[in-house]
């Protein structure tokens, strides 16, 4: 503050927006700070998953046959279905943010519930995919073995499945955390906490949700669609 005299004796006497924190000049500035902070968090998330993608890239270059064989064991049907579900949930999330920005409370709650339903659908499908891997002994470190023509690739294929479980597992964990965040945001929206002036929490949760969607956008072709031509 350049002009100390401008500060009223009672800080709450003036009619500022109830959601404007005192260390910000305006809601615009507060929103900009929140957006920047959220993106900074997402930068760390990109690099967090980046390390795993790095491991994936190196082992894929080293063991292309094992990657093709491992990928064949995954269901394109289920993976593709989940891709559609997750991109669909990004659409409902974007619509939820838009509804919050334009002040439609019921629509916001509706779109958020839709996002949560699609997120849950994804996790249920993922559960059955994992269950199938346990049945077929494709879980590294848990009676892992490969039968048939690819038996000789069992070692590197175990690396493929280790990365499959680590990457999709951490992705699923992000989905579960996202589901928790959405529950809180939906409750806040239902209680009428957001307005056309202030809907930052919905927007920030949206950024997180879209990021998780982007991780899957890469995981789907990299895990399910390796060398499917069977050369």
């Amino acid at each position: 503050m350049s002009d100390a005299a401008a500060i009223p004796a009672d800080a709450h006497a003036h009619g500022h927006h109830p959601d404007l924190q005192h260390h910000f000049d305006s809601l615009e500035q507060q929103h900009e700070a929140a957006t920047l902070g959220m993106w900074l968090f997402l930068v760390t998330e990109v690099l967090f998953f980046g390390g795993l993608f790095m491991a994936y890239l190196l082992y894929r270059v080293w063991y292309p046959e094992a990657w093709a064989a491992g990928s064949e064991e995954l269901s394109i049907r289920l993976g593709g279905f989940n891709t559609v579900v997750l991109i669909g949930s990004s659409l409902t999330m974007a619509m939820a943010v838009r509804s919050a920005q334009t002040g439609y409370r019921r629509a916001t709650v509706g779109w958020l519930l839709g996002t949560m339903a699609l997120g849950l659908t994804f996790l249920v499908v993922k559960f059955f995919e994992y269950k199938d891997k346990f049945t077929h002994h494709h879980v590294p470190g848990y009676d892992f073995h490969i039968e048939g023509a690819h038996a000789g690739l069992a070692g590197p294929m175990e690396i493929f499945f280790s990365l499959y479980f680590t990457m999709t597992g951490l992705h699923a964990l992000h989905m579960i955390i996202g589901f928790g965040i959405m529950s809180v945001i939906t409750w806040m929206a239902y209680r009428g906490r957001f307005s056309t002036q202030w809907s930052t929490p919905v927007e920030m949760s949206g950024l997180y949700w879209h990021f998780v969607d982007i991780v899957w956008i890469f995981l789907f072709p990299l895990l399910y669609l390796v060398d499917r031509t069977g050369q």
């Binding site: 930068v43 394109i76 891709t83 559609v84 619509m95 590197p156 002036q197 949206g206 789907f220 031509t229």
Partner: protein, 128 residues
């Protein structure tokens, strides 16, 4: 304050994302040689870019936010490039006529040899 996109933008982007998903599955079943990986990756990068620009509003964000978005992928490229430069050059001769880096050949060659001998390729990995 924050940008409000028309509904049609979101539906259009969703439609394009669905189309690209179908395309990546379609392309995976066609023999494109070394380009299969590039095509799959190219489509994924295009999809991610659309999500970042339109769903995440990066297109309408401040220049500082845009810088942060770009920064994450800049550092990701450093991670990939420097690591791959290291690993993929370990088997190379360090000077003309010199010996190839002993023990640094990609385990892929070893695993193929073990496969031919009917062995588990595990020992080859243990060397690393």
């Amino acid at each position: 304050m924050s940008h409000i996109s028309p509904k049609s933008t979101y539906y259009t982007i969703f439609g394009i994302l669905m189309g690209l998903t179908a395309l990546t599955v379609f392309a995976a079943f066609h023999h494109l040689g070394v380009f299969n990986f590039s095509v799959a990756l190219g489509i994924a990068i295009t999809k991610a870019t659309l999500v970042i620009l339109f769903f995440m509003h990066a297109k309408y964000s401040s220049r500082l936010t845009k810088l942060f978005v770009g920064m994450s992928f800049f550092f990701l490229m450093i991670l990939f490039t420097l690591t791959m430069t290291d690993y993929l050059s370990r088997g190379l001769k360090t000077y003309p006529g010199g010996a190839a880096g002993a023990g640094y050949a990609p385990p892929r060659a070893k695993s193929a040899a073990h496969e031919a001998a009917g062995e588990e390729p595990r020992e080859g990995e243990a060397a690393h």
